[in-house]
């Protein structure tokens, strides 16, 4: 007999030091409450976090690897978006 498989959830955890929630992995659970409970057991056994987000994996929309070129290449030649593009004389002091 095969039982219907519990859905997959992605888990995001915020650590102690004011960082944003970070993806740590996934797990199976029947609903959000259950997913948070499992995430606490699987991903925070050593004080790794102070806050947990879960989202059902099926609800995540992702960019496609084949769009890599058109998506990210346009940013490549815009060096003027970086501070080092602008030459400021040393005499000006720290800027």
């Amino acid at each position: 007999m095969s039982v219907k498989e519990w859905p997959l959830w992605e888990v995001f955890i915020r650590g102690q030091h004011g960082m944003s929630h970070r993806h740590v992995g996934s797990l199976h659970a029947v609903d959000a409450k259950h997913a948070i409970k499992n995430a606490r057991d699987v991903y925070t056994r050593r004080n790794e976090g102070v806050s947990i987000w879960v989202v059902e994996a099926a609800h995540i929309a992702a960019s496609s690897p084949s769009e890599k070129g058109p998506m990210y290449d346009p940013a490549r030649d815009k060096v003027y978006r970086h501070p080092t593009f602008y030459d400021i004389p040393d005499d000006v002091g720290k800027m």
Partner: protein
């Protein structure tokens, strides 16, 4: 080791001339040290081999809880009990991280579990040996987790992103396992004469099975060459086994225990220990189902799976009912 004998379905290393343009570009990415992610292009063989390897690794973590779980209720002190419980709980976590990594390749955890239970997927031979005394908890942590670490550390650099990330997490947790085992051994060898004898006996029984964890010599394995080209295997089995022996011998000396190998000696020329290979006939026998505990281990997994079926089903049904009710109220 935890994935000792991953039989690939291909015919060994594919030469560049025989690769499709996509496969060539894929190999270039691996050679450049790039990580392959779930939705990236990958050759079929790469995907299939990884599912087997990660699946075998995951099953080993889960089945590996059984020989240690055997001693949780009989730990000699409350502190040792808490330590062992935490270690076994970690192994459950390791299994889950790895199942998730495998799932990104398009196989489900339930499918993998069913493949374990019907014999299509394997787990490490080491867990088919019994844990007869409390000293075995020391030997297992020290030697078995020690060997596991040796294999897992280089896998943090493996080419498949989700696998490499799972390995990073696992390696962080693993070193406590080995140290708690060594700590048990230290207490045993400094105890009564009987306790020291138990420690020696545990080493005697686990030494060769631990050496087998690295898998047979891969000098002539065609599968191994392809796995290394894909960087889903980083070192040869023999390299890792040698490294394990070199690191473990001084630790045994520290404990005042004797490695059960009359031929073990330091080789000045190679700057490594020479040692006796394990009995490979025994290894093939154990891996094909005839070890002392194979039947017990699989039965335990099967019982857990079957007896838990109604719980999995009931929880899902309850969640669906709640969701439906909530939707109706909106």
């Amino acid at each position: 080791m935890y994935a000792q004998m991953v039989k690939s379905t291909g015919k060994g290393l594919v030469a560049r001339e025989d690769m499709s343009p996509e496969d060539c570009a894929f190999q270039d990415r691996i050679d450049a040290g790039e990580k392959i992610e779930p939705r990236d292009y990958m050759p079929d063989g790469y995907r299939r081999n990884l599912i087997r390897q990660i699946g075998q690794h995951a099953h080993s973590e889960i089945v590996g809880q059984l020989p240690e779980g055997n001693w949780i209720t009989r730990a000699p002190t409350l502190e040792r009990k808490a330590n062992l419980l935490a270690k076994v709980q970690d192994e459950a976590g390791h299994g889950l991280y790895l199942y998730c990594a495998a799932e990104t390749l398009g196989v489900s955890r339930d499918e993998m579990t069913e493949m374990l239970l019907d014999g299509r997927m394997k787990y490490s031979s080491i867990f088919n040996y019994p844990t007869l005394t409390w000293a075995d908890m020391g030997a297992v942590g020290w030697l078995v987790d020690g060997a596991a670490i040796m294999n897992q550390v280089p896998l943090q650099r493996t080419s498949y992103g989700p696998y490499a990330r799972a390995m990073v997490r696992i390696c962080k947790e693993e070193s406590f396992h080995q140290r708690q085992g060594f700590h048990i051994m230290m207490a045993m060898v400094n105890g009564t004469a009987d306790q020291k004898r138990m420690a020696q006996d545990a080493l005697n029984r686990f030494w060769y099975p631990a050496l087998m964890m690295f898998g047979p010599s891969d000098k002539d394995s065609v599968h191994s060459a392809q796995s290394m080209a894909w960087r889903i295997k980083v070192n040869t089995n023999d390299e890792l086994r040698q490294k394990f022996v070199d690191e473990t011998v001084p630790q045994a000396e520290y404990l005042g225990l004797t490695i059960p190998d009359a031929h073990l000696h330091w080789n000045d020329e190679t700057e490594h220990y020479d040692f006796t290979e394990p009995d490979w006939d025994e290894f093939f026998d154990v891996i094909s189902g005839n070890g002392p505990c194979n039947v017990d281990r699989l039965n335990a997994r099967k019982t857990a799976w079957d007896d838990g079926a109604w719980v999995r089903e009931a929880m899902m049904a309850h969640a669906e009912k709640k969701a439906a009710r909530k939707q109706a109220a909106e």
